[in-house]
């Protein structure tokens, strides 16, 4: 009888835990956060300022071969992440920039919570397909953090097969292995957490989600796991596509070993290794310095060197 009582108590506890973990946990969102229902990514209102397909919808024959760079940001971020590159590159080269807002991002917390990594990625392919449909042929990509991971997945899944091949793919601090190893346990502990709070400043809260729903962390884990396995099997770039990795050596978000896995796993169509630059930096997405405190001269030099290298390769 005592054993039955113990068993009943254990089952009750497990059921309670299950019910508790199944409860909706809504964070205390304010209107000064991107998570709220007031601040949205500006590209949603004025896509012509952010997307080349909207800004230049009817290219001339000459314009169709003009270099285009599609820039995608990282998990929980917004188009803001590539604003500095846009501003810096004005007058430095004859090219078009498309700053893509990943699906589910830059909107409300619920929109973010309900989106999958496929939704995140669709914004990139939508812009690429709009540009290709308009006749553009010289298209390159740059992705920061998860933006880079999504680009890798496009290549590994064969998305570009039979399509206009990208000219260059640039990865800035791509994430394949998270620095925070507790992400590997998100499937176990996520439902109990509900969401995770980011350590943003008030100003950063306008451009990055402050609260990260556990569902989105699971999506992040899903896509980086898929890409890791794809890299283990080997990924070959489309014919005519080059790749360069820029990776911060000391990165508390995307472990530097991510670069090792990409470098080992990706080959060009002619079986060469891809280009890589291991950057002496302790920033994640070292190309974004706006709104950071304590930006050093070395940080500025790293940013400028990467910007110059990316732009020179795009317009060469």
């Amino acid at each position: 009888m005592e054993r039955i009582q113990k068993l009943t108590a254990t089952i009750s506890l497990l059921v309670s835990l299950f019910l508790f973990s199944g409860c909706d946990k809504t964070p205390p969102i304010t209107n000064t956060m991107l998570d709220g229902e007031v601040l949205f990514d500006p590209s949603l209102y004025q896509p012509e300022f952010y997307l080349a397909s909207y800004a230049h919808p009817t290219p001339s024959v000459a314009e169709k071969s003009k270099p285009i760079l599609i820039a995608s940001h990282g998990y929980s971020a917004s188009t803001f992440e590539w604003n500095e590159f846009r501003d810096w590159s004005v007058g430095k080269g004859d090219y078009y920039l498309s700053q893509v807002l990943l699906g589910g991002h830059g909107r409300t917390y619920l929109d973010f919570k309900n989106a999958t990594w496929h939704d995140w990625q669709t914004s990139i392919t939508d812009e690429y397909e709009r540009l290709v449909a308009k006749g553009y042929t010289n298209i390159s990509f740059v992705g920061s953090s998860t933006g880079g991971t999504l680009l890798l997945e496009l290549v590994s899944s064969g998305y570009f097969n039979g399509k206009v091949a990208p000219r260059h793919i640039f990865l800035v601090d791509p994430i394949v292995i998270s620095s925070d190893k507790s992400l590997s346990l998100i499937g176990l502990v996520g439902p109990m957490l509900g969401y995770v709070e980011a350590d943003n400043t008030t100003e950063e809260d306008k451009y990055w989600y402050h609260y990260r729903p556990q569902e989105t962390l699971q999506q992040l884990m899903n896509v980086i796991s898929k890409v890791r396995v794809d890299l283990e099997k080997g990924v070959t770039l489309p014919v005519g596509t080059s790749m360069k990795i820029y990776k911060s050596k000391h990165d508390a978000t995307a472990d530097a070993v991510s670069a090792v896995l990409i470098y080992r796993g990706v080959k060009t169509a002619t079986a060469y290794k891809v280009d890589i630059d291991m950057v002496e930096s302790n920033l994640h997405v070292f190309t974004r310095l706006l709104l950071r405190s304590n930006v050093s001269d070395a940080d500025k030099q790293n940013q400028k060197a990467a910007f110059n290298d990316i732009l020179n390769r795009v317009i060469e």
């Binding site: 292995i177 190893k181 080997g234 508390a252 995307a254 090792v260 890589i276």
Partner: protein, 182 residues
């Protein structure tokens, strides 16, 4: 060369004598394979040896050594990172003479990864290992043992220090044979 051969012979006779001595006293020496899967990372396989002294907490306290490597797992014929785990451990098995025996184990050791290119030499590739492990051993009245457990690496990479492919949670199975049991 002659000296080297003599030394090897001496070691061979010493080890043979030691094994015979231990065997005569019904020690437990479980030798087997260890299959390990890190949650959301690699499969790493290898070998395990666990020893229990006949006169000191016999068949309860085990000391052991294991070696698991991704070279015999995910990194075999793939681009995964080759990495090796050299582990020493102390285990306590509960419920002596039962078929199902829960156990607790403390592991320590050395982790080493090979990133394969000098451009990554600045990144951390080696680490101390330290992990508690809990599980159950199935111990029928034959020399065969099977253990299933999960362990938690207390030292893991965090992007700023430690190897990036040293993850916290792993599951392992060991299938072993007591080579001293007649």
């Amino acid at each position: 060369m002659q000296k080297f051969t003599q030394s090897r012979l001496l070691i061979f006779f010493f080890l043979s004598g030691l094994l015979f001595h231990l065997n005569a006293q019904q020690s437990m020496l479980d030798v087997g394979v260890r299959l390990q899967k890190t949650v959301n990372l690699y499969v790493e396989n290898g070998f395990s040896v666990q020893y229990s002294h006949p006169h000191f907490l016999s068949d309860k306290l085990y000391v052991g050594a294991s070696f698991v490597t991704s070279r015999l797992g995910t990194a075999y014929h793939s681009n995964a990172i080759p990495q090796d785990n050299y582990i020493v451990s102390a285990s306590w098995l509960f419920r002596k003479n039962h078929l199902l025996r829960p156990f607790a184990r403390l592991n320590s050791g050395y982790f080493s990864a090979d990133y394969g290119d000098p451009i990554f030499d600045d990144l951390s590739q080696k680490s101390l290992l330290l992990s508690p492990e809990f599980g159950v051993t199935i111990q029928p009245h034959i020399p065969l043992k099977m253990s299933f457990s999960f362990g938690y690496n207390l030292i893991a990479g965090d992007g700023l220090s430690g190897p990036g492919t040293l993850f916290p949670l792993y599951l392992q199975t060991t299938i072993s044979w007591n080579v001293f049991k007649n």
